[in-house]
């Protein structure tokens, strides 16, 4: 059974003049016919189906359309064309460190975030001590959130998020946060969750992480789907070579060529 099915998903993204220009500028520009909204395809014709229990790594340079695609799968955005089908309860952990309220206390923020992630109050009551412990924030519970250091903030964010128990877990650059010891602790915790049979999608800039954890791989470039499949090693090699040569592969043969170049360069 498939956990996620995407069929010809295309997402048109808007950027341009409309942001922060105000009413007067809007009217003036409309009159002058100088009002520009740029629409571009953040994702174009993405099609894949992901089996239950699989672990998908999405790779691609900045602006490849990774985050937009995750938002479509999470239901935050709707695809302009195509369809997204998700079977099971989904939890998307996107840009975790932001979105807290500086004026509220650590405890209040923890509850609000827990509510956002779909936990119940009883669950939070049970787990709040554990969350604070894991984030190493004992004694800070009643402090205003804005008084925390950025490391503490991301530790709290991770600690709350790591209690999720969904069928499908989406991770956008949230593996291993913080510094030193906590980085290891959080990485271990995530691996523990991912190995529990959950279907996972992972966006990471660390290709090593993708190699280590994923059994399926999706390569996006400027919104186009370069590769989807289970040849993780091969594609990861090719991707690393691509990062140097910047030559976008046009087909599976190009990927093979890139892989060979990679292996040659690394003296294999």
């Amino acid at each position: 059974m498939n956990a996620i099915e995407l069929e010809n998903v295309s997402i048109r993204y808007k950027i341009g003049d409309f942001k922060n220009i105000g009413l007067k500028e809007y009217v003036l520009r409309k009159i002058r016919r100088d009002y520009h909204v740029v629409e571009f395809w953040a994702d174009k014709d993405i099609t894949f189906s992901l089996k239950k229990g699989a672990m998908l790594g999405i790779i691609g340079t900045n602006g490849a359309g990774k985050s937009t695609l995750l938002k479509a799968i999470a239901g935050i955005m709707v695809p302009t064309t195509g369809s997204v089908q998700v079977n099971g309860r989904i939890a998307a952990l996107l840009e975790l460190a932001s979105g807290f309220d500086g004026d509220l206390t650590v405890r209040e923020n923890a509850y609000l975030r827990g509510a956002m992630l779909g936990y119940t109050r009883r669950f939070m009551d049970e787990k709040i001590e554990e969350i604070i412990d894991f984030a190493e924030l004992n004694g800070y519970e009643e402090r205003a959130f804005k008084q925390l250091s950025s490391g503490m903030k991301s530790r709290l964010a991770f600690s709350i998020a790591s209690l999720v128990n969904p069928d499908i877990l989406i991770l956008d650059e949230v593996l291993s946060v913080g510094d030193g010891a906590f980085r290891k602790k959080s990485g271990d915790k995530m691996k523990e969750i991912l190995s529990s049979g959950v279907t996972g999608i992972l966006v990471s800039h660390s290709i090593a992480q993708v190699r280590e954890m994923c059994d399926t791989i999706l390569w996006l470039d400027k919104g186009r789907q370069i590769y989807f499949g289970t040849d993780v090693e091969l594609v990861a090699n090719a991707y690393q070579e691509f990062m140097l040569s910047k030559k976008v592969p046009q087909g599976f043969e190009d990927i093979h060529t890139l892989n060979e170049q990679f292996l040659k360069r690394n003296g294999d």
Binding site: F18, I76, M77, G99, A115, M116
Partner: protein
């Protein structure tokens, strides 16, 4: 629907709680301001307009309080509801939640505030020798409708505010204007008929009028009056819901 309510209940409660905590953060008197601030504005208005209009209006304090009570509820709900989407952008760009939750949470807070003021209002009615009659039950009608009306206007404003931040200034000017046009501190009884009818176009005036009719005059407004209020409310709510539905997935690009 039921399942949805269950699912988002915790988040909703937390949002309400957050709005309360933020509102009184840094104040010494805290929630006591909910009682004090309408009383103070009533006091100021009584002082300023008492000698001007007070002599010709029966139960002037109660008359004034009716206007203040309704208008403050409307003003607070809409002026603060306007920020419901923008100030929660960090939440709805990260998790998939119904976007009206934020506005509803805000409106719960203003409703509670209104409730507190209403109790104070009844206490004042006692002092002003107002006769409490069973007809007071009818006050539920304008209260429920005003609540829905506020939500509708709040939806429209909060959506517009996402696209144009000018809305906050325009709205504050408009509210100012509406204060003078809602017959809060004067009576329109001596106005020509055409002018009096024009006041019926102002939904906020209708709510105020309803309150006065029940409390001061001890009479129930006509069926047509009820219908007019219902139409205004449904219109605001309908437009608001339409905008929210239409732009549900557009807001994301603008915040």
């Amino acid at each position: 629907m039921r399942e949805k309510i269950e699912r988002y209940r915790f988040l909703f409660e937390e949002l309400v709680k957050r709005d309360f905590q933020k509102k009184y953060k840094g104040t010494i008197l805290g929630a006591a301001w909910s009682v004090l601030s309408p009383l103070l504005s009533l006091f100021v208005m009584r002082l300023v307009f008492g000698s001007l209009f007070g002599r010709n209006i029966d139960h002037f304090t109660t008359y004034l309080f009716c206007g203040n009570l309704v208008f403050a509820f409307f003003n607070e709900s809409t002026s603060q509801g306007m920020y419901a989407l923008v100030s929660n952008a960090a939440i709805f760009t990260k998790v998939n939640v119904p976007k009206y939750l934020f506005l509803l949470a805000k409106n719960v807070q203003t409703l509670i505030n209104f409730g507190i003021t209403l109790v104070v209002f009844f206490v004042f009615c006692l002092f002003d020798h107002i006769a409490f009659t069973p007809k007071f039950v009818f006050l539920l009608y304008p209260i429920v409708l005003l609540m829905l009306f506020n939500i509708g206007v709040g939806m429209i404003l909060s959506a517009f505010y996402v696209f144009f931040r000018d809305v906050q200034y325009l709205w504050s000017v408009f509210v100012q204007l509406l204060t003078y046009l809602s017959a809060i501190f004067y009576s329109i009884d001596t106005f020509p008929l055409a002018a009096r009818n024009a006041f019926l176009l102002n939904p906020v005036y209708l709510f105020i009028r309803y309150f006065r009719k029940i409390v001061i005059e001890g009479a129930i407004p006509s069926v047509g009056f009820h219908a007019l209020m219902a139409v205004d409310t449904l219109l605001a709510l309908g437009i608001g819901m339409y905008i929210y539905k239409k732009y549900n997935h557009e807001f994301l690009y603008y915040v």
